[in-house]
């Protein structure tokens, strides 16, 4: 029942939100809904077994409404569950025109994301994959910067082409299954020739690569993150990009082991190029949002490289890091949003000296920044260490080149801290004040997570251990 509730609660509360026209009520409603979902996700994660839900859906096509909550799904539903209350709490003092639409679409997006992480049926997975995208399209186009309509459209078309190619791949494999079914176990049991794998692999991978995004499919990402409203960006970069990584682990590794072996070198190379390239561009940015966007591409690049390195330790690192990156990046965005709401700018050149005016915010931002650099004692350190370990075992040179990006990360992140919070105040930042308690509360929660998981990552490692072993077993 828990897997179903994880989808139904945000879906139903989201649909109801369309009709709550009062701003205050809808904010409270959305917050309550997201807290309830979080509690359910926690309950799911606390259970020791793999939770399943299965009911008939499309008998004519051989597709069932079947959900499974295994280790990886537990971790990701937990991430989704924890993200939304944090986001809702931190933006509760912001004003969005027609806010009932905003919160309704946010909750619908949450339902879609939950569905993606839970589906144990490929057609159902495809459904939720799109269901998460449609609210995102409306959210990004309706609230945000001036160029948002064009930018979001590019984002939509980009990901839609990817999804359609995936649909072709799904159909291709569907007709290879003996009894024409979309069930995950039938797809896992497929015996494909190397040629079939090589070809279907790309149909799936392009969709996921666009979503992650990895170089050279990343061009939609910085623009979209910059233009859309920061609350939406939090979800896009905190949770939605994990869809791509998740899908690679869930579908590509077990179904196309031969193709993975064949193309892993190329994909790791692309990921590593993307890491360096994005880090270098991040250094040159003058906009906080664009800086974080490029930094995010670099982090995702490392995760994708570690997935394809096919080492147990690397895969465990990915699991840990998916959660940590999601939480950390949301922290960075919350600070960005707090600054933008207060001062109306995100440009480094117009900021400075904020630490004198907003001490609390400054301290919390520094913690986030250190986590972004993956300093020991922060949660990101564990994940990145494991991933580099995996990459190192795969190919030492790739690991060495990828390590450069850590240095670059320190350059741009610390640079941002310095430019925003230290130095002299100017006319604009003279008037700044410390942000509200709701923002601080969210950030404190994130800080606690950062430090606890930085010292004691065991819970997530244990949670996702079964998935890692299961995936590796199908490959070997």
């Amino acid at each position: 029942m828990i897997p179903l509730l994880l989808i139904v609660v945000p879906l139903v509360t989201g649909l109801i939100s369309f009709f709550i026209k009062d701003d205050k009520t809808v904010k409270g409603w959305a917050l309550i809904s997201s807290v309830v979902t979080f509690a359910i996700a926690l309950a799911g994660a606390a259970s020791h077994d793999k939770l399943l839900f299965d009911t008939t859906w499309l008998p004519l096509l051989g597709s069932r409404f079947s959900l499974q909550l295994d280790g990886m799904a537990k971790m990701l539903t937990l991430l989704t569950g924890v993200s939304f209350p944090l986001v809702f709490a931190s933006i509760s003092s912001n004003n969005y025109p027609r806010s009932f639409n905003f919160y309704a679409l946010m909750l619908l997006m949450q339902a879609g994301l939950m569905g993606v992480f839970l589906s144990a049926d490929v057609l159902l997975f495809y459904f939720f994959w799109e269901l998460a995208l449609i609210p995102a399209y409306f959210l990004c186009s309706q609230w945000g910067g001036e160029k948002r309509i064009q930018v979001t459209f590019k984002f939509f078309i980009y990901t839609f082409i990817g999804s359609l190619l995936m649909l072709v791949g799904i159909l291709y494999l569907y007709y290879k299954t003996p009894e024409h079914s979309f069930a995950i176990k039938d797809f896992y049991a497929l015996k494909l020739t190397a040629k079939e794998q090589g070809f279907a692999f790309w149909l799936f991978f392009i969709a996921f690569a666009i979503k992650m995004p990895i170089f050279p499919f990343h061009t939609w990402q910085p623009d979209t993150y910059e233009q859309s409203s920061t609350a939406v960006t939090m979800i896009l970069s905190g949770v939605m990009v994990k869809m791509g990584l998740y899908a690679v682990i869930r579908w590509i590794l077990p179904i196309f082991p031969t193709a993975v072996e064949k193309f892993s070198h190329l994909i790791i190379l692309l990921s590593v190029i993307g890491m360096l390239y994005a880090s270098l561009i991040a250094i040159r940015q003058n906009d906080i949002k664009r800086m974080i966007a490029y930094s995010s591409i670099a982090h995702i690049g490392l995760m994708s490289a570690a997935i394809f390195a096919n080492q147990q330790v690397g895969l465990q690192g990915v699991m840990v890091q998916m959660f940590n990156h999601g939480v950390n990046v949301i922290g960075l965005w919350i600070v960005t949003d707090a600054i933008e709401q207060q001062l109306g700018t995100r440009k480094f050149s117009e900021l400075g000296g904020l630490a004198q005016k907003a001490q609390g915010l400054a301290i919390l931002f520094v913690v986030m920044a250190l986590a972004n650099v993956a300093l020991p004692l922060t949660n990101a350190f564990i994940g990145e260490f494991l991933m580099f370990n995996g990459l190192f075992r795969y190919n030492i040179w790739m690991a060495v080149i990828a390590l450069i990006s850590i240095i670059l990360a320190a350059v741009y992140t610390l640079n941002a801290v310095q430019k925003i919070f230290y130095g002299e105040t100017n006319e604009l930042t003279e008037r700044a004040y410390d942000s509200g308690s709701n923002v601080k509360l969210s950030l404190v929660v994130i800080t606690i997570v950062v430090i606890i998981l930085g010292v004691y990552p065991e819970p997530i490692l244990r949670l996702t251990n079964d998935t890692v072993n299961a995936v590796l077993a199908t490959i070997k």
Binding site: L58, F127, I134, F138, I157, I161, V168, L171
Partner: protein, 472 residues
């Protein structure tokens, strides 16, 4: 049989009602009741209750496929009349006659879904077309409407000529009008190759002529002008139910020939039909989608979009398997319902350009929300009926192994189609403006359009709620 006769009788009843009923507003209510009756009669027929016992000498063959399509067509027409009945009244003075013509078109549709000889095919196409020529020119003080009617009539007659020629050649080859009979080995001792050639030539002519009716490129040139010129309410009817009927006629003919020849579906009469259809599909998708991108008016965009959608329905003709036939029925329903909805909203708008829709979400939230669902369905986004329609089409081709490139071409153009459908959504939701409607929409209209959108979502989540009637 029930539906063929009843629809003709309903047409006559409608005609006389214009003599006895003075009030113009009553006609649409009469029409709606008669359509409901027609639907009931057809459903009864499906369950084996025959009202008329007429020996058709094998000229008509009633099967589940035909009945089911009739039901879809009649139900769609009912929804269409309920939603746009008021706007039909506004076209001109002869309101009752418009409904008469719609019933006669339905008579043609029901013949097309059950013909078993080429003669009945021809009759069906003509009964369907001639009322349409008149409806196109219904707005007789409007030059564009007149031009459209004349153009449609001339081009239509031309294609009818081609069809007759095709029928003649096939008759020459087989010695019968029966669509299930293939040429005998030798009739008069001549080698079979002659007959095979005659039959192929005949079938190619049929393909051109029906391709014209369903506006497949390169036989689509009449479509934009006629759809744009004729009154919006009738464009809606023409672009949806009538077009779907054309496809049913199309697939029945080629399915029968492939069946009868008993060889691989793509090689009967020695012509590579798969290749011919693939060419037709690619050119239709290309022309329909690319041209739709450049349109400035929603009405013209919908005209090109209907060409593009025809390209997708042609996938069924390409693969000719069970998935294709099932899928074509679903596609016909999904496409018709969504287009009827979009047209019903469009005829309420003052300005039919994309700019005319700017800010509709603020002035008319219900219309904007339902219009979005219809557009998403046409674009083939999951959770709407359009997704499963496209899914079935792609799956049918995928089942015919070896044509993966065609599936990929299909999805690429599906992505292109998102561009122009979403332009309307962008205008309604994200652009500022004061979209105005010609008159306040009634509560009934709002309820109707919400129900229609609900149906599209229902078929999008559970397509078997529609398709189970095909298997019951």
């Amino acid at each position: 049989m029930n539906a063929i006769i009843t629809s003709a009788v309903c047409g006559v009843i409608m005609m006389f009602s214009s003599v006895f009923v003075e009030n113009k507003k009553t006609y649409r209510h009469i029409a709606a009741v008669l359509l409901l009756l027609l639907l009931a009669v057809n459903v009864a027929d499906t369950y084996g209750i025959r009202l008329f016992h007429i020996d058709t000498k094998g000229m008509l063959l009633f099967d589940r496929f035909g009945y089911f399509f009739n039901s879809i067509a009649i139900a769609s027409t009912l929804i269409y009349v309920v939603l746009t009945g008021r706007d039909i009244e506004k076209v001109g003075t002869y309101t009752a006659e418009y409904f008469v013509l719609i019933f006669f078109v339905l008579c043609g549709v029901t013949i097309l879904s059950s013909y078993n000889t080429l003669l009945m095919l021809f009759l069906g196409i003509e009964i369907l077309s001639i009322p349409l020529y008149i409806l196109t020119g219904a707005d007789k003080r409007n030059l564009k409407s007149n031009e459209a009617a004349l153009k449609y009539f001339l081009m239509g007659s031309f294609s009818t000529g081609i069809m007759l020629m095709g029928i003649t050649l096939i008759y020459g080859a087989t010695g019968t009008f029966d669509i299930y009979v293939t040429p005998k080995e030798t009739i008069t001792g001549q080698p079979a190759i002659v007959y095979s050639l005659l039959e192929s030539a005949g079938l190619i002519l049929m393909m051109i002529s029906i391709g014209f009716k369903v506006s497949a490129a390169p036989f689509h040139f009449w479509t934009p002008d006629v759809y744009d010129g004729s009154p919006g309410v009738f464009t809606s009817f023409m672009a949806t139910i009538v077009k779907a009927a054309g496809f049913i006629a199309f697939i029945k003919l080629f399915d029968a020939r492939a069946d009868a020849s008993g060889v691989e579906a793509n090689a009967f009469t020695g012509v590579d039909w798969k290749m011919l259809f693939a060419i037709l599909i690619v050119s239709t998708l290309l022309i329909g989608n690319i041209t739709a991108v450049f349109q400035q008016s929603v009405k013209r965009m919908m005209a090109y979009s209907s060409i593009a959608q025809a390209g997708f329905m042609l996938f069924a003709l390409f693969s000719l398997n069970d998935v294709a036939k099932e899928g074509l029925l679903l596609y016909a329903a999904a496409y018709s319902l969504a287009s009827i909805g979009i047209f019903a909203i469009m005829v309420k708008m003052k300005d039919h350009t994309f700019e005319g829709y700017n800010g509709l979400s603020k002035t008319q939230p219900v219309l904007a929300a339902t219009n979005t669902i219809f557009l998403l369905s046409l674009a083939g986004i999951p959770l709407t009926a359009g997704f499963f329609a496209k899914y079935y089409m792609l799956a049918s081709v995928m089942k015919t192994s070896g044509y993966l490139w065609l599936v990929i071409v299909g999805v690429v153009f599906a992505a292109v189609s998102v561009y122009y459908y979403f332009r309307v959504i962008q205008a309604m939701y994200f652009k500022d403006g004061e979209a105005t409607i010609t008159e306040e929409v009634s509560k009934g209209f709002k309820v109707g359009i919400i129900v229609l959108a609900g149906l599209i979502i229902l078929f999008g989540i559970l397509p078997q709620s529609l398709l189970q009637w095909f298997y019951f």
